[in-house]
Symmetry: C2
Subunit: 487 residues, 2 copies
Amino acid sequence: MEMENLEEIREDLKERILTAVEKRDSKEIAEIFETIPNIDIAEAIEDEDDVKVLLYIFRVVNNEYAADFFAELTPEQQELIINAFSDKELVALLNELYADDITDTLQQLPANIVSRVLKACPKDMRNDVNRLLNYKDDTAGSIMTTEYIEMKENVTVKDAIATIREKGRDAETVYTIFVRDNRRTLTGTVDLDDLIFAKEDEVLSDIMNKDFVCCNVNDDQEDVAKMFKRYDLTALAVVNDENKIVGIITIDDIVDIIEEETSEDIARMANITDMSDPYLKTPIFKLVLKCVPWILILMVLQVFTTMILSGFEGEIAKFAILAVFTPLIMDAGGNSGGQTTTMIVRSLSLDEFDLRDYGRVAWKELRVAAIIGSIVAIFAFGWLMFEMSVGIVNTDSITKNIIDSGAQLTLIQAELLIAALVGGTLFVTMIISRLFGCSLPFLAKLIKLDPAVMCGPITTTVVDIVSLITYFLIWKEILNPLFFNIT
Amino acid sequence: MEMENLEEIREDLKERILTAVEKRDSKEIAEIFETIPNIDIAEAIEDEDDVKVLLYIFRVVNNEYAADFFAELTPEQQELIINAFSDKELVALLNELYADDITDTLQQLPANIVSRVLKACPKDMRNDVNRLLNYKDDTAGSIMTTEYIEMKENVTVKDAIATIREKGRDAETVYTIFVRDNRRTLTGTVDLDDLIFAKEDEVLSDIMNKDFVCCNVNDDQEDVAKMFKRYDLTALAVVNDENKIVGIITIDDIVDIIEEETSEDIARMANITDMSDPYLKTPIFKLVLKCVPWILILMVLQVFTTMILSGFEGEIAKFAILAVFTPLIMDAGGNSGGQTTTMIVRSLSLDEFDLRDYGRVAWKELRVAAIIGSIVAIFAFGWLMFEMSVGIVNTDSITKNIIDSGAQLTLIQAELLIAALVGGTLFVTMIISRLFGCSLPFLAKLIKLDPAVMCGPITTTVVDIVSLITYFLIWKEILNPLFFNIT
């Protein structure tokens, strides 16, 4: 299926479904569910709020599809269906759902519905769901499922396959079997294909992988995602502090988490507080709340640059062309600092290096900064000379200043001095932006803060302060006497 | 295994391996490979360039580990080993590797080694590898593998399991079996667990999923990754233009691609040309090349703001406090525009909406912008009054201007007017930044450009232009006459 014309396909599918429901054509509905993925069907009818239509579909389709389909519906639709279901139907649905899907559903439903669902849950599942609901957000516990297959070390391959045949349908995955010893400690994993390839009378301890990894129930979900990537896993055991297995996490949940973490990283870089909700479904006031705090915080952080500019207001009044180039210097510093912090934060978050590598990184950055500083300074020098010579920057005021003060300068000498001032300031700015920009994420990590959150704005603020002071001090102490003939 | 003390674990492991190699303790090496994941072993000895050490390890470990371990080594180490291997050993290694891993390896090796490896490849694998090497970068073809299990519709479950037992070890996954009709057209997929649950005499066409999806060999890898996420896949068939299956992609490769695409998105946001190489291994001149072009491009883009500021230089010279607040206005506009483009680009790339939703988005942005604009304007007004009243911003020059010009203004009236000027400009800036910032990604998508590349800088440039002109025009036309008593 092409992603391009998804919208059209969706429209056609919606019509096909609604026509079938209207005609009470159960065969057509069954055919649709046979040949089209559940999520495509769910999306096609995501605006459907007629409970009769939803119920008809549910009662007609095969049980195996119904549970998956239910998990893909919107919370509003799920609520409608649960309300309309008899207790018996609800129990049947819950039996087909995985504990982690029920938990996801419950987190979005109103309290009275939650209690009805929990009451309808089979007792052992109710315990599981209650446990899952209690784990802290973003931990391994909050994303794991309790439906996995666990066997003892001395089980034979033949018995293992028989057990899978019998109990496998309730498990979220049968592709990884978790093996434990008599004290319920996890000792290995067996992949389903290893079972298929093995001889029937071998025991699991002979064929299991002992080089497995597992995570703790309190581990951060981002670290769990890293383990899946690093070890090419499809399922991972979650253990408690006593090293007993309490659940598993499967790769399909991890793909969603990587997506979520990516959105989080991108949001932080753009100074948005959160980007997890789909844009069109986010209410306006929530969009405002996501964006406005950072604009205000950054405005307050500018108090330092405002103070510096205000302190040099006299110089600006005397020689206003100075103000023309301040945004150029501040933006170049902000960009350069942003580039550095982004690279370092990303490398830190991918575990490419750790705190002990700071020396190597700083030394590398210093050399990179020296080269970039030289290139940018020379380019800016040439670019400003060009701007002044073709009249993009008006130089009349410079001429007037020279004449008024009686300084011994030609216009071209004055232009060269101004271009050199900006170039020199940019050289300092590049060095500071890269050195400070690479150091701050390490510092944040050292004191166990998230480096992604504040490094960008703080770096920009510090670089702005240093570059503006450099710019105006070079002017005031070195160039000003030349321009105004002060000896 | 905790990710925190990975570095220490790595050091210990390295010592353990090197000691074992020195003592020629093959049992210890075998034990290490039994109990520790290959990638951890490979990383522990990633600096090892003594080919004798590497060869000893290779000759001692079990064949099943050797190939995986080889795939995790650095290109330099792979080259050393291939050079030192006899032809027979090379053939044995290649037989254990998957075609896509060989392809990955070859892409990083010098030409003479590539030809030796291809010569040593079994003939059918050589064809596969050559084909994989020919697909364009970042397409489904370039990441797929040719080792999958394909069966005809009329095969029985019993025969299918027997075939998997026989040929499954060569396939990259046996968890999804691809089913085709007599004309080699893909008609369905069977998951391994469905085979386990089915009766022995059923045929594949009875139990296969007909609601499968597949991708074309030329599809972009990012779209392929989207399909994995959407449909919770673990393997996906890749078909050619005649709808015949030519390869499969497995979820472990997709996780790497999501990672790669994330790095790409983040790099674009920070104006870095590319971030795919690990930082510490990137040469200095390459780091310079990644960063410097954008700093220069952005500097050139500033020609417009430079022109505007230069055009209003006379106003700045007369009333220098205007220059104190320009960075504040420009930064707020840049931040706000960046927030909007980031949200819209992200939503577009996640297919949350498409081009036809532009009207809804723009209308939503207009309302959001009106609210944010009001909040920011009022806050800035208050904040500036505070800055001026406590002396963060020096107001002596305002007083002097009023006295010199003999205007009928008190200092507090003047301050209120300046704060209102900045507040009003910010209101306009917020509206423009969000409206323009949300429109540009749609425009880019419409003309089939990548929205992530240029939208940030262009939005900032346009917003800077509009806000500076607004700021200075309001000043010149409305406030200037009041301050300088022009009637």
